[in-house]
Symmetry: D2
Subunit: 478 residues, 4 copies
């Protein structure tokens, strides 16, 4: 059967030998590196819940392609219900891991390719869609995790790909052979690239004639020769390394820069090759799916933050403070706004020619625009309710120190009935959720920058209809 357990997932990652660096050093065993492992654990939760009595019916389904039971994280949606389930399981997972589970991006690439590869074939008589279906079958049968490799480094933002002084600022084909293509470039903010089996590459922007070398989509294993994962720094990145003060006791997130230093891609893994006029569609489909995903997982993350705020009120003894309750209501309101708009985008989805269902992009972007602005506010409210220890709680090593540990516990006691340990643990979790950069910054820049979301909502709206409404009521038109 095609559903892996989290142990099988870990084992499958151990079989990979990716090239990875962190803090200037090569990592030989990524799975057992505690920092990477905390990220892998978050993706592992998508495997765990697929085998969890309570959640497995939500997270698994039958594949129309293979007829087998599969994890929904390998399924391009074939119905409105599939679209809706994407949001619902992301919300559950957001609440379960309290950070990014890192498996949605690969799925969003699969969804995108399942529409656009078909559309390209329709126009050009190419056979990308068949290749893609084979790839998809293997993803489903082996219950694999994909990583979306979309964001190029981009060089000078004033210049198009072909205009860059260094031609590698967007990933491009530098050679082609009978076996396949050779590519060069780099992709950044590659959340969970070492937790994935496959790296799925899509173009990062709409391109024009002249940019053909950059109009590429393909997939390769994450340990392909020439691929270099450089795990960047996050604000609290040494906590897992030190094994102390992690806050979230199981899960975390890391985001490599991924260098494609002359990487070979076999033809059967190439899903777009130089069809430059489809780059725009590729990007906009991917972004729309990914923004829909965020509406689920981030509302789930706010569920944790809301719970944490309410518990801090209990642990501090401020349950009756009415302004704190108002702040919690604001947090809930924002979770439901992200979720509601993302759900609506799903329910209003439509079938594409390939059979995949696509969401309403206006509503998906409505959700994401809120996320980009309001997650920072949710975080601020959480800090406000919690108090100053978000900034400077002593280390667990201080609490364990024989000379000062008991003194610290004496003085950190909050509400009368609450054991001080609970308060300390919750403060630590809140520090993680409020101040960790890898996850919080994706609120703003995940799925494209805020400006991109705004442009999309305007472009997709029926502007003429709105004008006609106004003209009729003003008496300018009948």
């Amino acid at each position: 059967m095609a559903i892996k357990t989290s142990e099988q997932y870990l084992a499958s990652l151990r079989r990979l030998k990716p090239t990875a660096y962190m803090f200037g050093e090569k990592i030989e065993n990524v799975v057992d590196n505690p920092r990477i492992r905390a990220g892998i654990n978050a993706t592992g939760a998508t495997y765990e819940l697929a085998n969890h009595e309570k959640y497995k019916d939500l997270i698994t389904t039958i594949s129309p392609l293979t007829g087998e039971h599969i994890n929904r994280f390998t399924l391009p949606p074939q119905s409105t219900e599939d679209l809706v389930m994407r949001v619902k399981i992301n919300r559950i997972l957001g609440g379960y891991v309290g950070t990014c589970h890192q498996r949605c991006t690969g799925l969003d690439c699969l969804c995108t390719l399942s529409i656009v590869a078909y559309d390209i074939d329709k126009k050009y008589g190419t056979h990308y869609y068949d290749r893609f279906k084979e790839f998809l079958k293997s993803m489903q049968k082996n219950d694999l995790t994909g990583n979306a490799s979309v964001t190029d480094v981009k060089g000078d933002r004033n210049l198009s790909p072909r205009e860059q002084p260094d031609k590698d600022m967007y990933l491009r084909v530098v050679d082609q052979t009978k076996e396949g293509i050779i590519v060069r470039g780099a992709k950044v903010h590659q959340t969970g690239s070492l937790s994935a089996h496959e790296i799925i590459v899509l173009p990062t922007r709409a391109m024009q004639k002249g940019d053909e070398d950059y109009a590429l989509a393909f997939a390769i294993p994450s340990d392909t020769e020439g691929l270099i994962h450089v795990v960047g720094r996050n604000s609290m990145d040494t906590r897992e390394i030190e094994g102390v003060d992690c806050g979230n006791i199981r899960y975390s997130k890391y985001c490599p820069t991924l260098i494609f230093d002359e990487v070979s891609v076999p033809w059967d893994r190439v899903f777009m090759f130089r069809e430059v006029e489809f780059t725009g569609e590729m990007v906009s489909r991917f972004s729309a799916f990914h923004r829909q995903s965020h509406g689920g997982c981030k509302s789930g993350k706010i569920d944790v933050m809301t719970g944490a705020a309410l518990l801090m009120m209990e642990y501090n003894g401020t349950t009756k403070v009415s302004q704190h309750r108002e702040k919690v209501i604001n947090m809930i309101h924002m979770a439901e706004t992200l979720y509601g708009c993302s759900l609506a985008a799903s329910y209003e989805g439509k079938k594409e020619p390939s059979g995949t269902y696509f969401i309403d992009p206006i509503l998906a972007n409505a959700s994401k625009i809120h996320e980009g602005k309001e997650m920072a506010e949710v975080t601020r409210l959480l800090i406000d309710v919690t108090g100053g220890f978000v900034a400077d709680l002593p280390s667990d090593r201080d609490f364990e120190n024989p000379e000062i540990g008991e003194l610290l516990k004496k003085y950190l006691k909050g509400a009368t009935e609450v054991p001080v340990e609970k308060r300390i643990k919750m403060l630590r979790l809140i520090e993680k959720m409020a101040m960790e950069s890898a996850d919080t910054i994706s609120d703003i820049h995940g799925g494209g920058s805020p400006a991109a979301h705004r442009v999309t909502i305007f472009r997709e709206s029926d502007i003429d209809y709105k004008k006609r409404c106004a003209k009729r009521l003003a008496g300018i038109e009948p």
Copy 2:
């Protein structure tokens, strides 16, 4: 057939003889009073579109009760689709009339009673639901408009109904006979009460033991003896009276105070009588339905406002101003937020014991909380894009004046190719939409005050689940 045309609707209103006052004087012919008529026209649009080639399939459906074609504004939802259609037709109507169409409140009462009358019967073996079905049948067969009579005057907000020094501060039964009950009290903000055939009364708040006299639900014709409609003042209320500078050339809104000066209600129109423990459910169902309605009509209103803003950019010659475009995007974003959350609330609806579908109250309130805060911002943005003439455009009578009319037209010319008349008309429409009180204040207080929406979203949320999520990740609970 049960679908009225707007002409038939008007004719049916003419047959009523309500007692009505405005500006201190009795109105004998409400249908031809130009101010009331502008409101009636807005409700008339729900009849007009039911007969409109493009919209009739959206706005009409088959009644499961009568088997006949009916206007959806008489249909308690019998499916998720029915819930969704409520939002969609409200959005269309909001764009069509550019103000409140005033027919949703009566429907929201029908929806409420179709759930709660059944629930009361279940508990007490009463027969309210049968009575209600007969009433509903007549509403459907005659395509009638109902008016929600919910908001009591409330007297001293510190005191419950039974504690008020004047016992009539909440509408109450003062006597009962073999024929029915006699009630006294007053309901306020009765949007469109003179455009309705039936006044449907529900309690305004959850009540306690001792408040039995106030636990009432019933329906009476809008011209019942003892009912007095006092049409209050709105900020631009004399424009329709004067027949000039109306802005919205067809539609407007008015909101009477409705006094029940000893009014008789026959037993077959009484749907709740002293079952005080069901008042809470009655209010919360009604509010939820009404907040869902707002998510549709107000997003439709923003469609008009957005169109108006874009047209003013064309008429002023500011189409290329990037900040203005950003403001329009904010307007669109807010429309889609209201719409998205309200749609999601509908799609996530569930069947109640009586067969009526009920929305997700959390998501409906998420929409309404945005409305209460952000419609004012949408209005501000519209004024910002438009310019100062929202405040002080000369009257059409000035434009028609032989001495100054041509001078004014010369000087009010905007963008080169645009006739000045268009600019003047659009400015006038915007003045109406931005500064008219009857409609804009319902953004804040319609469907309960902002505080009520906030309390609801908190109460309905699964707080324990959120706490468990946080405890698990902090390591406090497994």
Copy 3:
């Protein structure tokens, strides 16, 4: 002595014979037209308080020009203290009239000319400043009110003055004689132009070579031949005409469009003539002074709104509602923000070559940007605290009607100890402050549009200093 009483002010207006239209008709006696009179009363308050025991020491001072006691509304600031007093007396007046007192704009022109006329003379050896001083002397000696005639109609916003198809879209000189110049054009949003003795014209924007005909500054009596005041419509403009439901029982605001239909200006009243490179300075000085003024009067207006909100809590019986208290705190916070930034702008003012003190434009614009965004929020909060009657309170004529008046009073009773009349009056005032267009829209567009304030704050900031700070800390520069 040079201080007029409000009676003397009224008498002086009666001696003027301006050409004025309203609702398409000529107004023969503007002073006794009840709508105009309510505006005149607001300006009259600046005379009244100058003679008021409690305020006269604040509002009057000694003129360095004439050595006489004068009203500060005729004084270009000669010290930091004078700058600060501008803000403080505007706050008092905002609280005293609850709307725009309409006398600041003329003063802001005097302040501007007292700097720029001097600067032009310095460069060109002209004698504008002497002329201006004579004019100023007469303003001071006769305690006159000026009206700032700044905002041109502007035609197509895409085009500069000289590029407009109709050359009169910005006020311009069409002829010149030995006696003076002849001008044509129109100025809009001329708040209180019929309450003023003098119309003071400044250019509305920075202009370029080729726009010389438009580079004008001058002053003329408000009843000069060829000047036509067309009083535009405001949202509640018929209330004063009807003499009922005014809300603010004494004061209001009106904003004419002012047509200069070939108007002669004698040379001794011309303060700028074709010096096109000084138009930018003229506009930016005026705008800065006017934005400073707003920080005073609008915080004073919020004082009234805050008081009204608190009283409604008393009258409704909601004094203990904690969310309402939080909303009132937001209102107070915004008043103090406008006031604080405007005060700081004054204290940080500097002496110009002519001797007049000029404010810090960054801080003045910081105040105005808040006003443009937050006054709408303050209004929304006021409505929220007050309740739905802001939209639809019955008319005083209804309350006086023998058939329904007593019933209405019975049902509008709020908190137990509060006479219903107080509640009705306060609701009416709040309706006026929340929904009246003439005043509220100046929050957004008064003193230039929000975009103008933003451009200014950026242009005036020391951008290089900020960059150097960042470079040093990043280790890019020492």
Copy 4:
């Protein structure tokens, strides 16, 4: 002379032997611990600039107490100008260190004591003020840094000090002798306590009869026996330890928990002892001064953030992106709002009986309320403009790695003319300013929680005046 250089300051700290713990271990040499040192450096900047040609006239002045030149950070304000200078030098220092310089809190305690010690003496004939003057003299003569020890751990927030199950939840006197008092308790968020020579203790809240043991104010050297500094964790606290990826190349912040484990205080350092009715004044004076300080330093910090945002636009090649410019304008606007309100609070200051000048608390709190809400928004805007590398920039050790360093530099190149090193350094600084917890959380909780600021602004406002304004205009009162 009384002005130390930064070297002399360092040397003076080396003479102290405080008891300090970090990460569970005792720190023997705090001055050379790289993490503590980065904080010491920030305080050192107040010494450095006092000797800097450009700034020394701003930062130093003559002491009215000693007649000597002193650093303003030891001067309770003796004039309005002194109050204003507090804000101005804090803004300069905020821009100079890009974080908290940590010396204002001690000064704010001196300011407070210079008012309240006098007031207590006036009432009780005690001699606290004389003692305080002696202490102040030594602070001035030796150019010492004080640390405000105000925030108690507070235990159960529902309970007053005397009601806590553990009586030490607020610092209290446990014994008294001829030599002095013995105190026990703990103070938290003790920013820079190891950079200070003196710990100045004030009560954390207004107290009531029965809380006398907690009504204490005193000062002791930071290395007094029994004092334990436990340096808490911050989000990026290991960077200085590792000596890499610091972002801000010189300065940082740390915040110990400070345990008073039976500490002796000699009588001549006790400035309040059991005068419980003065605790409220003590807290409100301190908070007001400290909120005023924030208006300076935080606007200075925004100066750095604004410069960083503008430079990132240059380095990324997005200088022409109009939305980014709008975001930068929002950042500037917020800096000026904090600054403007804080400046106004200073200019409006008044002389207290002791001769010290006290600010306007309403305006100081207006500034702080903005900080508590808008600094998070400023940070969000900075991240938005900068891009995703705020989350995951590779380490400097990666850039130095011979295998991948050059590849990384190739791919991180931005705008054509800008060396990649500049971009990397600026990204690192931005990461620090956006995601570091020690400093950013003080935006919210520094100087008391947001709720405290709101309560204060309400309590200090003249509510009756506002009501009278409204009553007069509504016609309720003459």
